[in-house]
Subunit: 115 residues, 2 copies
């Protein structure tokens, strides 16, 4: 029904599974929206390769582009990261409980929420 399916999650996690792309996200987060050249300065990589990384991020919905003259300004879009955090929620008690030293208990008492 909606666009938040398995393929979308695949694309987001796959996009995050690369240090260059995570670094792009960090730069957009710390320095705000910027053009491709400014981003490219931080990487030991040809610009077309970075363009492909940007396309992966775009198709995952993690960045958006806005044309400004002959530049393309890329901007962080954090919505898919919110989805990741939502995905993490059911696992949260696993590391919180385990840190309290009662992890083995819940291993034998699985939860009952099934999508």
């Amino acid at each position: 029904m909606n666009g938040t399916g398995t393929a979308a999650e695949d694309r987001v996690f796959a996009a995050l599974a690369n240090a260059t792309r995570r670094e792009v996200l960090r730069l957009l987060r710390e320095r705000g929206p910027q053009a491709v050249q400014a981003l490219a300065d931080h990487f030991d990589m040809r610009r077309p390769s970075l363009s492909e990384h940007l396309r992966v991020l775009r198709e995952a919905g993690l960045v958006s582009e806005e044309r400004s003259g002959r530049q393309r300004i890329y901007r962080l879009e954090a919505a898919p990261l919110a989805d990741v955090q939502d995905w993490l929620h059911p696992y949260e008690r696993f590391w919180r409980d385990r840190l309290k030293g009662l992890g083995d208990l819940l291993d034998r008492m699985p939860d009952d929420d099934q999508p």
Copy 2:
């Protein structure tokens, strides 16, 4: 120095970038530790293929195995997921602020925390 480097993050995100592996994690979370055969019943896939998925999850630290007779009991290990949540934290304000409708503001006021 420590084992939480870029390669480790790559491995965790890459492990999560596959619907079969995410489903394995969900099964281990909802039903507790279990053997390979029990997991395999949920997938339209030959068992050796699932074994490879389990290896990917193991190398990402997301599951552990415990030998019990001729069975291998797999258990969810949520620590890498806690790392993912930590990684998400600096982005959190982006979707929270944006939902409040003042996202454009912080786009021009980037933060200043740099690792």
